[in-house]
């Protein structure tokens, strides 16, 4: 096989044995527009919180869809719900509701509801 001189980093491996997509399913069931996100990053570019910290809604959406919930659990609370991302989104994803639902799902999960 041809050697291209690069390989997949260990950190980028997706481990479907430990991944849990239930939160992503909880969200997309209640907010179908979650599915149509193309991860373009407009939300992150306009984000008020992202102006001060490394908060990226794009990254969080990818992580949720991949099922790596633990990296999202605490970070998602940083959002101030100002709504700029919703206005900037070219796909019309209802991002505020995505975040609210994600928080709700994490809270319910603590009570074993999901």
């Amino acid at each position: 096989m041809e050697k291209f001189g690069f390989s997949i980093l260990k950190a980028r491996h997706i481990n479907y044995d430990s991944n849990d997509k239930s939160i992503a399913e909880y969200i997309s069931e209640r907010e179908p527009s979650f599915r149509i996100c193309i991860e373009c990053g407009c939300c992150t570019a306009t984000c008020t919180t992202g102006n001060f910290t490394r908060f990226s809604l794009r990254e969080l959406q990818i992580l949720l869809k991949r099922g790596e919930n633990e990296s999202v659990r605490e970070v998602i609370n940083k959002c101030m719900l100002c709504g700029k991302c919703t206005l900037a989104c070219p796909r019309g994803v209802n991002t505020r509701n995505v975040i609210l639902l994600a928080r709700e799902a994490f809270q319910k999960r603590l009570k074993n509801a999901v």
Binding site: F52, M80, L81, G83, N94, R96
Partner: protein
């Protein structure tokens, strides 16, 4: 002693509802907070009492507000309420004057004709009979409208009417039966004895000509008494509870009690005062633009009354406040909805009968569990000192034309200002509050308050009505808070800025948060009139539309938002104005994609009209005039 067994159902119902009303009033009074109790006591011995009597007459009986907005619907409500009141009043007088004794039990007035069948043949008795017949005809005309409305609502000029629960239907049927059964009972009795006026007399003699009148009358008297009794007993479980509750509500409101930010006894009174008339449904843009017909305030209140899960209803609302403005009972619908957002979903319960007559709504109210403090990443700021600070707000950073215009205006005015969130500020907190997360919002409020205190400013100017509302209501600041339209008007009046008159026509869209929610109607329009020709839109001031972009609604889709925006923009640009002006960055952004007309913020229009003076000359002139003023002294 005049007595007949058929009066028993009526008597049971009447005394039940009277005792119940007293008991419920005591429960509500005890549930009020201490300051509210004092307000109520002070109101009872003060002006509020007289005001309330007047308001009860005008609104609960005449239904003046409904008559103003929709005459036929108002007539329907008035004929039933005022007509019934007159029937009881004149019935009591009739029984007192013409009956066998004075100060009779209520049933003798209600069933007067049964106990005095030969009364009303001639003279004053006949004239009085005519009056009573006239009132009955008045009620029946309203009842006919009500029956038709139930099946075909456009008869009263309404597009939709409320859906009912089964118990409401039973109560409604008994209410509908009351007056026709009275008509038939009185007619048969009149027919048998040859009495009665134009209505009962004519109908009675017609019926008596082919039916055994005396035998027919008795079952209808039973039906009349039974329908009255059923109605009274079911009243507390149905929407008709609004009849007694509204009296209490009017008095409490006139005493100065308001909903506040926690559910309580006053909120419960308001919930029970809703008659489900449906005016809020027709006012709602989610209904007439987006086709969402199950979330309007009448349904929210119904859900809260019946202790069902209202989270889906509470969150699906633009919070524009159009229904508050239209509500004929004056219920503070948006504050109640905010309170509903603050609680978690209530479990659907199936209460027992006693529980349904005396519900304990406070039992189900828990505030949302606290999430860990999330905003400890906020950086410390040290803003420069200034007299005026300008807080653009998150949304204004998405519509930079507004902040550029504001900078131009502030520079031209020569005031000492600081653009506090020029490099991106922290959210004001209202979006979190709209999602029911007050505790989290408080963190942001404290952060922003600190920054504003540090700046030492006297005036805070903001471009975003969402920020404006929360700065005024939820921040404890020692600065004057102005929306930029108010600030610009002040600059114009002071002569700090000079403006050209633009040869343009402008339609102004009042943002919900600035207009209905904060009461700023006049300043933006005055500024616009100063620079251009302002057109009337038909949706001015309290009647303004929502752009659809509201942060209040997390449930509707992008497509539904766009539909609301394009419908509203189409209405506002009917007369083809050159510019559709607004005073809110969010409205501007939402409308921009929904209409061909140019959409601009008032700040942009003012900046365009600005006469640029030489700033050095301007300040030196000012100094000169100040020097002159001191010289005279």
């Amino acid at each position: 002693m005049q007595f007949d067994p058929f009066i028993i159902p009526f008597n049971i119902g009447l005394y039940f509802i009277l005792i119940y009303a007293v008991a419920r009033s005591i429960i509500w009074f005890r549930a009020l907070s201490r300051p509210d109790k004092l307000r109520l006591q002070r109101g009872f011995f003060g002006r509020a009492f007289g005001q309330s009597i007047k308001e009860i007459f005008l609104e609960s009986l005449i239904h003046r507000k409904i008559l103003k907005t929709n005459f036929r619907l108002g007539y329907m409500h008035m004929s039933l309420a005022f007509g019934w009141f007159l029937l009881i009043l004149f019935g009591t007088i009739e029984a007192d004057v013409f009956g066998e004794s004075h100060l009779n039990s209520p049933y003798k007035a209600i069933f007067f004709k049964f106990f005095n069948p030969v009364h009303g043949r001639m003279g004053i008795e006949a004239a009085y009979g005519f009056l009573m017949d006239f009132i009955l005809a008045f009620i029946l005309s309203g009842l006919i409208l009500a029956v038709i409305k139930r099946f075909w609502s456009p008869v009263v000029g309404m597009k939709r009417t409320t859906k009912l629960k089964p118990l409401d239907k039973v109560a409604l049927t008994s209410l509908w039966l009351i007056f026709p059964s009275r008509l038939l009972a009185e007619s048969f009795t009149s027919g048998a004895y040859g009495t009665g006026s134009f209505l009962t007399g004519t109908l009675g003699s017609a019926l008596a000509s082919f039916l055994p009148a005396i035998e027919m009358a008795y079952p209808f008297w039973w039906l009349y008494s039974l329908s009255l009794g059923t109605f009274f007993v079911l009243l507390p479980l149905t929407r008709y509870m609004h009849i007694p509750t509204e009296l209490f509500l009017i008095f409490a409101r006139n005493s100065g009690i308001r909903t506040g930010d926690q559910p309580g006894a006053f909120q419960e009174m308001q919930i029970y005062s809703c008659s489900s008339c449906g005016i809020c449904i027709d006012a709602c843009q989610l209904n007439f633009s987006a086709g969402i017909i199950n979330i309007q305030s009448a349904y929210l209140l119904k859900g809260l009354r019946n202790e069902t899960d209202v989270s889906n209803i509470a969150d699906n609302c633009l919070m524009c406040g159009r229904c508050d403005q239209k509500c004929p009972v004056g219920i503070e619908l948006t504050p109640i909805r905010m309170n509903a957002r603050r609680i978690t979903e209530t479990p659907v319960s199936n209460p027992g009968l006693l529980k349904r007559y005396f519900p304990d709504h406070s039992f189900n109210i828990r505030s949302k569990p606290a999430t860990s403090p999330s905003y400890n990443w906020l950086p410390e700021t040290d803003p420069a000192k200034a007299d005026v600070i300008y807080f653009a707000g998150c949304m204004t950073h998405l519509t930079p034309a507004i902040k550029i215009a504001m900078k131009k205006i502030l520079e031209a005015s020569g005031v000492n200002y600081n653009f506090i969130d020029e490099d991106g500020g922290v959210c004001c907190g209202r979006p979190l509050m709209l999602a029911g997360q007050d505790r989290e919002a408080r963190e942001l409020i404290n952060y922003n308050s600190r920054a504003i205190w540090k700046s030492g400013a006297k005036i805070l100017v903001t471009s975003c009505p969402i920020c404006y509302k929360v700065f005024r209501e939820s921040y404890y600041l020692d600065v004057e808070i102005l929306h930029h339209t108010q600030f610009i008007r002040r600059l114009i009046l002071e002569g700090s800025i000079k403006l050209n008159f633009l040869r343009k026509t402008i339609a102004y869209h009042t943002p919900c948060e600035l207009g209905r929610r904060s009461g700023v109607y006049d300043d933006p329009k005055r500024v616009l009139m100063h620079v251009a020709r302002l057109l009337k839109t038909g949706f001015d001031d309290e009647n303004s539309l929502c752009c659809g972009g509201s942060l209040g609604n997390t449930r509707i889709s992008y497509q539904q938002k766009n539909k609301i925006a394009s419908d509203a923009a189409a209405e506002l640009t009917k007369d083809n104005p050159d510019i559709l002006a607004t005073a809110c960055p969010l409205c501007k952004k939402t409308f921009a994609g929904a209409t061909e007309t140019k959409v601009a913020d008032i700040a942009e229009i003012v900046a365009e009209a600005l006469v640029i003076q030489d700033p050095v000359k301007n300040t030196s002139e000012k100094k000169l005039s100040r020097l002159k003023a001191t010289a005279i002294i």
